[in-house]
Every structure is written in C-alpha cells, then in structure tokens.
C-alpha cells in the first residue's frame, strides 16, 4: 500500500486596526494607551438611547485597504448586529459588515513549495468595531476562575478591517508569506500602520486536512495568534496534530481551538462559541459609495511594493535582492527615491541605503522616519564618492560622523581631516579594475593563495599608484585592492 499523503487546506482571517484618529461610530479618540476608560462616550459604551454614526474617514481607509488586496468596492454595503454576550462587548452585539461587506473579492500573491507564484484569494474585507479589553485578577489572566475582572472600554469601537481568505493556503510558510505581503501592501496603501507590537494585526486560521485516500478532516478554527511566528507555529502544530489523528484512523473534531503561545500547543477553547445571528443594524442607513468616491480614493493609492521593486530592477538596474529589501519598508523606499530625486546614482544610492542606512538604523533601533541624515544630504555624499572627490572608505567615515554628530558633509569632512580632490572613490575603483583586468595572471596567483607574503598585492598597488600619478592615498589603495580581488 502506498504511503498516505496529506494536503493542508487553510483559510486565514485577519483583523487589522485601521488608521483613524476617531472611532468607527463616534468621535472618541482611538488612543488605546490612554488611562483606562478615558476615551469613552455614550455611543461606544452602548448606553441606552445612544446611536452610532459612521465615520467616513474609516470608510476611506477601508477602501484603500481593499485596493491593496486587489478587491473591488461595493456600491452598497450594510452593517449588521452580530449578537453575543461578553463583558467587553457593551451593546451585546458587535456592529459589523459581515453579511454585505464594503469590498468584493481580491487576492494576494505568495510562493508555493516549488517557488512558483500563486494567488491566495481574498473573499472580502469588511469594516467592524473592536471590543473593549478585559483585565482579570486570576493568575492565568483569563476570565474563568478570576475573582474579579475589570473592563477597559478605550478600545471599544476602534475601527477594524476583517480580511477573510479563501482556503487557498497550503502550508504554514505560505500563510506567513500571505500575511506579510498583505501587511506590507496595507501599510503602503496608508490604511493602517499595522504595528504588530501594538496588537494591530490578529490572526485566526481555519485548518483542515485532505488525505490521499479521499478522506477530508473536519475544519478546526485556531484562535489567538498575534504574531507571524505564532501563526506559523500554530498552523504547523495543528497540521501535525490532525495528520496524526487521521493516520490513526481517528476523526478530527470540528471545533474552535485556542493557541497557547507559551506552551506551543492548541487546546479546545474553554469558551463555547456563541450562537450568532445577524440582523441589519437599524440605526445605520446603508453605506452607498459612488463611483466618483471610488475613483477619488483609487487616485490616492500609491505604487504597491512589488510593482515598485520591479520598477527599481527594470528602470534602474538595481539588483533584485536590494530592491526587495528597500521596498519592504514603505518609508525606506520613499527615502531611497528621495535620494535618487536629489541626484544620486540609483544603483550606488541603493547600496548605500541597503547597507549603511539599514546598518545604522538597526544598530540604533531607529525607524527611517526618525533618521536624521536627510536624503538630499546622503545623495550629495554618494555623488562626492561617485565623482572620486572622497574615497568610499572616507565616505563611510563621513556618513557615520554626520549621523553621530548631526552635522553636514563639509563639517564632517573638515573634522575628519579629509583632503578632497585626490583620486579616490569610484574613480580609484575604476583604475583598480583596469589594472586588475590588464594583469589576469597576477589576480589568478592571488586568488589561488600563492601570494602568501603579499608581494603580488604590493605589485598591483604600485601599478595603481602609478596610474593615479600619486594622487591616491596608499592606505586606501591597499584596502580597495584587497576588496577588489576578493
């Protein structure tokens, strides 16, 4: 008998906090870090007699997020009441577009196991309100067994986009790529900053298994994943668990399971899923979106990261890897493009951003928007190195000095005692390249490791110094040749 194989069938639901200063149905601030229960009003507290009123700014953010997922916009959508009782849900129902959402279907591309591009279809994106947050006195921090629970309603009514995928995801790695690409595109659209550490993106996964003998396992809903890592681990765990059950001929029970990140396991949810029913929210009229409004918002859509990366490669001949790294962060890409706009050579500027800028940011735990060296300053520095006014090594020293001392190029050059005008930078590199090209046998000897005493390197150095008519610094020449023959 042939060995049984299993294909995971996975659908993912994502909740993303949309960027807005005020809540979905009232004008309260969305600052959830404020002291508990200070950003609340009769509407988000669900007090008797209060009525919701739709925040049109959030509708626009929903449209942008929808465009980022390649979705269309419905000319008419509705809000519904999704009923269940829980202390963090003031009205006893959540107001959500679940049944007639603002967007139609879309897709996000990922790479499958063979490295081929595949589309994960997005069923829809809809708008809904978030619930409050509970704080329990019990040691495990959960509601059951707690002596006392406290509710903070600051988060209540903050705007969410729920994004529901079709069950097109076939592995944990596809799932992670899906959510990463999706997150990046939504950030680009401006609909949300999706700061993961602030809980602005939460995941649920529906996992089931198809067996090569024709059996289908029941669907299991796994909840409570708040990071890419948690999503990946939870799906991997669930795939293994279900596979084992099916190999043993057991049934996979259809249920909701809770991901325990500390233990690295899923376990049956202790809170029974409530029986949910939807009626149309009678306090809100249907949401009508005109073609004019759609066109206006679509015009605001910036270039998406994959399109941008492709353009870097095709228009500017930037290496694919560098283009991908830079476009991963919308603000970094904007910084890089500002450098180019300020006159820097795109390829050289891309390497500076890819290596030097990112290094300094990482070392100092900074975000690009907080980076002090202005793009036009970096562009000027890149140009000076490019024109050979200063060497690459000197350029890096100047860069570090400017960063550390928040000063301009001229000041850094002066303070570092660099004399401009010698043969350095790319002009020097060009000479070195020519010298090496003219002496292939010498290069071969160095590469094969025969030049143990460095005599051959010294020989090349001499040739280069001669070519520069003594205008280069010997130390720099030595470093540059050592780099070039690697």
């Amino acid at each position: 008998m042939a060995e049984l194989t299993f294909t995971p069938v996975i659908g993912i639901e994502i909740h993303i906090r949309l960027k807005s200063d005020s809540k979905l149905f009232c004008s309260c601030s969305t600052d959830t870090d404020a002291p508990a229960n200070t950003n609340i009003c009769p509407v988000c507290m669900g007090l008797p007699g209060s009525l919701p009123r739709l925040n049109h700014k959030v509708v626009e953010q929903g449209m942008l997020a929808g465009f980022a997922l390649n979705c269309g916009i419905r000319p008419k959508s509705l809000f519904f009441r999704k009923s269940y009782f829980y202390p963090d849900l003031p009205k006893g129902h959540q107001v959500s577009q679940c049944d007639l959402p603002i967007t139609t279907s879309g897709y996000i591309e990922v790479h499958d196991a063979n490295g081929n591009l595949k589309k994960i279809r997005v069923h829809h994106l809809h708008l809904e309100e978030d619930v409050g947050s509970l704080h329990h006195s019990a040691s495990d921090g959960r509601l059951e067994g707690a002596d006392t629970s406290y509710v903070d309603y600051n988060r209540c009514g903050t705007p969410l986009a729920e994004i529901v995928s079709e069950p097109d995801v076939a592995s944990a790695s596809e799932a992670v790529e899906y959510v990463m690409n999706l997150r990046r595109r939504v950030i680009y659209s401006g609909a949300s900053d999706v700061e993961l550490e602030k809980g602005m993106m939460r995941f649920d996964a529906n996992v089931s298994m198809k067996c090569s003998d024709g059996r289908w396992g029941h669907k299991v809903e796994v909840k409570n994943m708040n990071s890419f890592k948690a999503l990946e681990r939870a799906i991997e765990f669930e795939i293994k668990r279900q596979k084992k059950l099916m190999l043993n001929g057991e049934d996979v029970i259809q249920e909701t399971r809770h991901w325990n990140d500390a233990k690295g396991i899923t376990s049956p949810s202790r809170v029974k899923e409530n029986y949910r029913k939807f009626i149309v929210e009678p306090d809100l009229p249907p949401l009508y979106i005109t073609q004019e409004w759609i066109d206006k918002m679509r015009a605001k859509m910036p270039e998406m990261p994959d399109v941008k990366a492709n353009r870097y490669v095709s228009e500017w001949a930037i290496p694919r890897e560098v283009a991908d790294v830079i476009t991963d962060d919308k603000n970094l890409a904007a910084y890089f493009e500002a450098c180019v706009a300020a006159g820097a050579n795109p390829v050289r500027a891309s390497h500076w951003v890819r290596t030097e800028v990112l290094r300094v940011l990482n070392e100092n735990q900074l975000k690009i928007k907080d980076f002090k060296i202005k793009p036009e300053v970096l562009a000027a520095l890149v140009s000076r190195v490019d024109e050979g006014k200063i060497s690459t090594t000197q350029g890096k020293e100047v860069f570090d000095y400017m960063f550390a001392n928040a000063c301009g190029i001229d000041e850094a050059v002066a303070k570092l005692g660099i004399t401009e005008g010698g043969v350095a930078g790319n002009a020097l590199n060009d000479i070195i390249a020519a010298v090496i090209k003219a002496n292939p046998d010498v290069l071969e000897e160095i590469k094969s490791g025969k030049d143990k005493k460095g005599k051959k390197l010294k020989f090349l150095q001499g040739l280069v110094m001669k070519e520069t008519k003594g205008q280069a610094k010997p130390q720099e020449v030595a470093e540059a040749i050592a780099e070039a023959v690697k």
Partner: protein, 480 residues
Amino acid sequence: MELYELNLHDAIEGLKAKKFSPEELFESCKKRIDSCEDKIHAFITRTEDFAKSQLASNPTGIFAGVPTVLKDNLCTKGIRTTAASKILGDWRPPYDATAWKYLREAGAILMGKVNMDEFAMGNTCGNSAFGPTANPNDISRVPGGSSGGSAAAVSAGYVPFSLGSDTGGSIRQPASYCGVYGLKPTYGMVSRYGLISYGSSLDQIGPFARTIQDLQLVMSVIGNYDPMDSSCFREKAHDFTHNENPSIKGKKIALVKEFQDFTLDAPIADAMNKIKKILEDEGAIITEVSLPVVARYAVACYYALAMSEAHTNLERYDGVRFGYTVKDAAGIKEMFERVRSDGFGAEVKSRIIAGTCLTEPTRCEEYYVAATKVRTLIAQEFSRAFGETDFILQPATPSMQPKIGEVDDDEMKGYEADLYTLPVNLAGLPGLSFFTGYADKLPVGLQLIGPRWSDAELLNAGVIIERHTGSPKIANGGAE
C-alpha cells in the same frame, strides 16, 4: 381660570406679556399635579427641584418658562431614566436626548419623567415596573399606551404639552384615549438620539398637546436636524407655522377599503361619520384606497421586525456598566442570567425570546428576512395609495377606553386594533391622532395619515377639524 389650564400658545403669550411669571405658572401646575397625582399616577420621577433650578437661571427661548414632562424612555442628563423597567435601576444618563435638549434650549421647564409600558412594550400603560397610570377622564380606565403618562399629564392639565414615543401606535392610541392631540411624525423627522430604543426602525418621538397649534409649536422646536441620529435627515425644510385658515378644498381623503368590515365601538363609528361630514363640508373629496398587503400581512410583519430589533436593542442590559446588577454572582454567566431574569418584566422577556427565535439562523430567512421584504411591499403600497389620495382617515383604535385590569380576550379585535396604527410605523408615515368630541364624558379620537414628510399638511388638516369640533377640555383628573 387657573394658569395650569392655559394651552401652550396662551402660556407663551401670557409669559411674554408678563401677565404672570414662570414661577406662578410652575406653582399652578405643581398644585394641579399635587391634587390629582394620587389618583392618576402619571409620574415615575418628579423633578420639581430641577425645574426650580431651571427657573432660577432665567430660561430664554420660545418656550421660556413653560413646564413639560417627558416619557421616561427619553434620556435626561443627571436625572433618573427608567423606561419603566427595574433593569435600569437608578440610572442617570450622562447626556440629554436631542429632542429634550432642543426643548430645554428653547426654555422648557422639566416637571418630571412620566409612566409608560416597560420599554414601550404595551398599550395600556399598565405594564410598568412602577404600577399603572389612570385615565384622567375616568380613573377606572386605562390611559392607553405605551405613552400613557405623557397623554394623561396633558389631559389632566399637569402641563400644556409633553413628549412621547410611537413604535406601533404608542402616541396615537393614548392621545385618542385621553382626549388630546398626538402626532407620530414621519420617521426621521425628530432625532431619536437619547430615546431608549424598542424597535429602532419604527420608533419615533412626538408631541402631545391640547390644541393643534400647540403641536405645531412643539414640532417647530423638536423637528430639526440632528447629526447624532443617522436616520434623521431632511429632504426639504419643514415649516410648522400656524395658519389660522388652512384649506382642504379639493383634497382627497380616503378610507381603507379592507378595513370597512371591521367592527368599531359605536362612538368611534359615529365620530367617523361626523368627521367625514366636516371634511366634505370643507370641500374635501371622500374616497377609498385599497391596501391588501397591509390588511393581510402588516401585523405579522410588524411583530417580526419589532421583536427582532428589540431583542438586539435589549442585549446591552447586562448589569456590567449601568442600572440593576447583582454583586454576588458566581460567574459572569450567572450574573448576566440573574440581572436579566430579575430586571426585565414578563412582557419584555417574552418579546426578547420571540425576537431571539425569529432571528436564529434556522428561522431567520423565513421570519426576519421575509418580514423585511414584506415591509418594502407595504411601503410601496402606501406610496401607490398616496398617488390616489392626499390623506387616509381611520380610527386610532376601534374600541373605547377599557377598564384598568380588564382583559380583552377577543383576539381578532386586538389584531384589527393594531392594524390601525402599526402599518404607519412600517412605512415611516406621519399619523395625527385628533380629538373629535365626547361620548358619555369619554373622549373619542380618530387618526389622519399622510405620505412621508407631509407632517405640516396633516397638522393644517387638523386645524380645520379642530375649528369644527373645538379643542378638548382638561379632564377632571379623578375629582368627584
């Protein structure tokens, strides 16, 4: 003549001319309330201290110094608001309902919060956690409901006008029973912000008064746009200015064909004939319209929608943030169960259960969704009818005021009674309940219905009728 007997218009004029002071008017009304309230029991909460503080701040505006009362499902900042339910406990809203805010800003003085059926569910004002209210015309009889307290307070001369709410007849039926005028405005005419919801897509706030002109005055204040209510909008500006001599000449006034076989109590049938005659004498053309879908399905459709909306509107009463709660529950589930079991009255609980059943996934299509579709048909049917006629004339209720505690077990009669009021809410139409005269000392009312946004025209028609019938007198309030 005592000051409390003044209607709203005359009170305003008297105050303006300084014939008497707001304090004197307040004292007269207070004295009237003190002398009758034992028998009428219209109030849930009297707010005379608040009224005095308002007077002390010298209110300005067109209602400056005129006392009023509010149905107790309208939120009043810092003043207990109960919806006649135990579940709201001693809740004091942190905000004013918009309709009350507009009145307060116009200078109206709040004498108190008045009785109603719990969460506006009922038609006798007897289904209240605070006990029943009596009809000031005959204290052995009900004032009608659910806005019974608002109708009784105006009828008894406590105040010249009041506000109530109407989800399926809750302004028009008590107005008719108590012998006052009551308007259920077009849905969206008056902001619902701060009205404790029963059936959100049906609820509408409206005024009670002893003259049509007074209704016009109140509408000119409360019938204004409010951004806090998304269903409140304006297709055009509405002018409620009183016209002494409106005309109805050449206008068509229809009776509903399907209702003609229903039995009416004799005084109501007589009133129908009397009003038809008056309108004809004024040059109106009496005609007939057919409303087959309304006649066949409106009642079922109404209850399916009202209960579906009500059960979700009442989900927020969980004892966590406000109102009645229990402190010794073993867990959150027990807390929810006990709060809701102890807090809600029987009628409310039965409607919550019905609403829950009507919307559960296996039945939702068959009941709730079907009802939303029928509702569209009903609205279309009215629209068509109003292409053939200007107004529809019918009773507000087919029966005279029942005795308190008297149960009418004639189911068909109950069904027909509902048919006179509920369809108006389903189609979002305005309905005017007007006084026609007395039969054996009991007031008899009827109803005039118009197309959406015809509220001002309806009131003008009311002025013509009032000119013939005279305005109602203040009821004796239980005096022997």
